[in-house]
Symmetry: C2
Subunit: 200 residues, 2 copies
DNA sequence: TGTACATCAGTGAACGCGCGTTCACTGATGTAC
DNA sequence: TGTACATCAGTGAACGCGCGTTCACTGATGTAC
């Protein structure tokens, strides 16, 4: 709102997060430099450290925002569906859309060195996984490894497909793609998966 | 073979590539530092530049090796199968196995800034895609976008699933996983996809 | 088989820049009386 | 309502290190005669 910034920026924390998000979306996480963020906001290069203990802390905070945002989006998408399989599919579609619309959040959330620093994010991920299992009503019999013991083949297949599509798009492996094209793709691909899940 | 290295290393180029591969597998591409490679091989920090014009050139060369290796592996895996659908599935499984066994190559090959520097790799990728389409015998009707116009939903679904699984594993999102566990997973997941592809 | 010379693959010292982070400081804002 | 003081959010200068890359050099290897 303030057109002319005075000595005190007022919204610097928020502005730093937003600028970092912009940079990540455009050039990736490695392109985030604290001094560039500061310069872009017309502030000294030491200023960011009044709000974040370190560059890493800034990235983790941003990732936490993203996680909350993602869960919310997926829950909202699933809410409208009676059929559990359709609800599950809607989650997958929403996930891909989120990745395309918010590539910065998505990139942060696929970095285990960043996610690993936030128990909050890990908790959200666990909740989400439990929800998926519940929706698909999958019995968890013996699985391939302890690490994936909680995931049925169906859930994992759906996750791998949506995650893979999301990554292919955000990593630029499919060229330029608009959010609406991404959504169409997500619909088509989850449809291919449909018969296999139903027969589970 | 030579136990004691003399003034001339003799295999430095090869050794640099191997060491870089090791580092990438363990800590990612960003962890490759020319001076660390040199130190690990007991050579001065300027030595690598006798064999590669720059750090980037080294990474591209390594990626080219990886691409050749991958194609070969997938072709070999598909060769034993009569049924085109099974052949296609074998390719997918081989792809995931490759990603797990050779995470360094896989990581390099999913970086478009690196792949983009090598027409050789791009050619190999195009050939491979054509082969997949041919195997699946997919008619290419109107698709979601020009960029993906050559890919049917079935091919893209299979790619997204295998790519997604491979990335989830190599990015550590599924915890520690052995190559044989990975192969089991790949089998299970491609099975889920089966019914949808057959009915295409 | 030995000597002269070109070429190749190393050395080691240094450069230079980018970037995260620190530090003593100062201007602005909020609160007590 | 005004003054004194604590606290907060900036500044700007500097540090220090990591790392890619360059440069003039030198020891080893291969080839011609």
């Amino acid at each position: 709102m303030a057109t002319k910034r005075a000595y005190h920026h007022g919204e610097l924390r928020r502005a730093l997060l937003d600028e970092a998000r912009r940079v990540i979306a455009q050039d990736g996480i490695e392109a985030v430099k604290t001094n560039h963020l500061a310069a872009a906001l017309g502030v000294s290069s030491a200023a960011p450290f009044r709000h974040f203990a370190s560059r890493d802390a800034l990235l983790v905070a941003l990732a936490e925002e993203g996680a909350a945002h993602l869960i919310e989006t997926m829950n909202a998408a699933a809410a409208g569906h009676e059929d559990p399989l359709e609800a599950h599919r809607a989650r997958g579609v929403a996930y891909v859309r989120f990745a395309v619309e918010q590539p910065a959040y998505f990139r942060l959330l696929s970095r285990r060195d960043i996610v690993g620093q936030s128990t909050q994010i890990q908790d959200l991920a666990a909740q989400n996984l439990a929800l998926m299992e519940q929706v698909l009503g999958a019995a968890q019999k013996g699985a391939a490894s302890p690490a994936v013991a909680r995931r049925s083949a169906g859930v994992l297949a759906a996750q791998a497909l949506t995650y893979g599509l999301a990554r292919m798009i955000t990593d630029g492996l499919l060229g330029e793609i608009t959010p609406s094209q991404a959504e169409t793709l997500a619909h088509e691909l989850t449809e291919v998966l449909g018969p296999g899940l139903a027969g589970d």
